[in-house]
């Protein structure tokens, strides 16, 4: 009995020592981005920000997804509560919400959702720009427990992140601990913005992907605004011009659509997409002679859009043959 106890206690001591060593050694590698932040605070980001006016919706059981998303969406002007989002993001059998659905849902309400790069500094930049960030973290102590929360502030001096999470309106977490929980989900983070704003850390191509998602929904006004905003920021962006013109065309604003396409053609004179769509638009306005002139500029034979161009040209020629149809 006594021998057993000694062995057990010796084993326990070794275990503790080993665990402590492992923990200390592992600390730095567990939180690489926090370590980097200590010496490399991102330029232009203030040392302390707190977006106090982000609303707080305490979550119901398992429904941190709807709660977190509602906070971000409401702050962007959607006037929404978590209950309304349950049918949009919650999966009954998994008792939770999937990340891709979190990204898709705001689009149904005319908002742009954008997944950030897996970077601590990007999160800080977004908050500094006034955009609360929805994050996925492993909030479990022993078992993995995925959880969504909203980051709405930080303080460099004390090394603290502020979150609206679960039932806590203001949860304070050390930078390091936050990174540990956030890293488990591959640093997943997203922002939700009204269509006339662009994320502070937006990458042009990925932003356009987000707009494609918005465009799939039933929000024409928001889509037009979003494309317009993107085109203003990136005047050379072809999909933005095409998307904007197409949606204006949908709304019957053919003059404006043609104007957008003309302007884009100044920058991309050889784009068959622009030529095709401009020709179509002009034809729809009854300006078929001009339309024919434009479509001829498109080199139909080589392009992957050859069939569309041919079809457009045939339509124009038909309309020229029988005006008034």
């Amino acid at each position: 009995m006594h021998a057993q106890a000694t062995t057990l206690s010796r084993a326990a001591r070794w275990l503790t020592l080993w665990a402590a060593a492992l923990l200390l050694a592992g600390c730095g590698t567990l939180i690489p981005q926090t370590v980097a932040l200590r010496t490399d605070w991102p330029q232009g980001v203030p040392r302390q920000v707190e977006l106090a006016s982000v609303p707080f919706f305490p979550q119901d059981e398992y429904q941190c997804g709807p709660a977190a998303l509602a906070m971000a969406m409401d702050y962007s002007g959607a006037s929404i509560r978590p209950e309304a989002l349950v049918d949009e993001v919650w999966l009954p059998s998994r008792h939770g919400s999937l990340q891709l659905e979190m990204l898709a849902a705001p689009r149904r309400h005319g908002l742009v959702s954008y997944r950030l790069a897996p970077s601590y500094t990007d999160v800080l930049r977004e908050i500094a720009a006034g955009h609360p960030v929805v994050i996925l973290q492993d909030a479990g102590l022993v078992f993995t427990q995925w959880h969504y929360a909203v980051v709405n502030g930080f303080d460099y001096a004390t090394g603290t992140i502020y979150l609206r999470s679960g039932k806590q309106a203001r949860q304070e977490m050390p930078f390091s601990y936050f990174e540990r929980t956030w890293r488990a989900g591959n640093y997943w983070a997203m922002v939700v913005l009204p269509p006339d704003r662009i994320a502070a850390t937006a990458n042009e191509d990925r932003w356009m992907e987000s707009l494609l998602g918005l465009a799939r929904g039933d929000q024409p006004e928001a889509t037009v605004t979003a494309y317009r905003t993107a085109l203003a920021r990136w005047p050379d962006n072809l999909p933005a011009a095409v998307g904007l013109a197409n949606h204006l065309h949908d709304q019957g604003k053919l003059d404006e659509a043609a104007g957008v396409l003309h302007a884009a053609l100044q920058r991309h004179p050889d784009s068959v997409v622009l030529l095709n769509n401009l020709a179509q638009t002009l034809s729809d306005q009854g300006r078929n002679a001009e339309a024919l002139f434009v479509i001829r500029r498109a080199d139909a034979t080589q392009s992957p859009f050859a069939s569309e161009i041919r079809a457009t040209r045939q339509l124009i020629e038909e309309r020229l043959r029988s005006p008034g149809s």
Binding site: A5, L8, S9, A12, Y62, C64, G65, A68, D87, E88, L91, S93, R94, H95, G96, S97, L98, Q99, L100, M102, A104, R107, R108, L136, A139, G140, L141, V142, F143, Q145, W146, H147, Y148, G166, M208, E209, L212, G213, R216, Y227, L238, P239, A240, V242, G243, N246, H249, D250, S271, V273, N276, N277, Q280, T281, S283, P304, F305, E308, A311, L315
Partner: protein, 120 residues
């Protein structure tokens, strides 16, 4: 009728139903999504995308989502997102809740250690 046959039939029906809406979404206009890529999405890619959407919608329904809602939820995802979803829906993290299980486990372990160490 075997399950595989039923599934195939379903897919054929889905594709043929949707084939009508396949050409550029608007009369004669090439879409922004086609303008975006460096490669033009082939018809095969479009078909696969439709199947992916149907697949994801079905999986959502199987997970307890109302059929109307399932369709709406898939509608707002881009082709890329739907494709990723189709692969991943079972295994992907589902953010839910911070429950009490973690604490219970720790308490249990502590109690066990106490029982064996102190009791002796």
């Amino acid at each position: 009728m075997s399950l595989a046959f039923k599934k195939t039939t379903c897919r054929v029906l889905v594709v043929s139903l949707l084939a009508l809406s396949f050409q550029t979404a608007r009369a004669g206009l090439i879409g922004a999504d086609q303008a975006a890529g460096t490669t033009v999405p082939t018809e095969r890619a479009m078909v696969l995308s439709t199947l992916d959407r149907a697949d994801v919608a079905a999986q959502l329904r199987a997970a307890g989502v109302d059929p109307q809602d399932a369709r709406a939820r898939v509608q707002n995802m881009t082709d890329q997102e739907v494709h990723a979803m189709a692969q991943d829906i079972q295994a992907a993290p589902a953010g839910g809740d911070v429950s009490a299980w973690g604490w219970l486990a720790i308490i249990l372990v502590v109690v066990l250690i106490w029982y064996y160490a102190v009791r002796k």
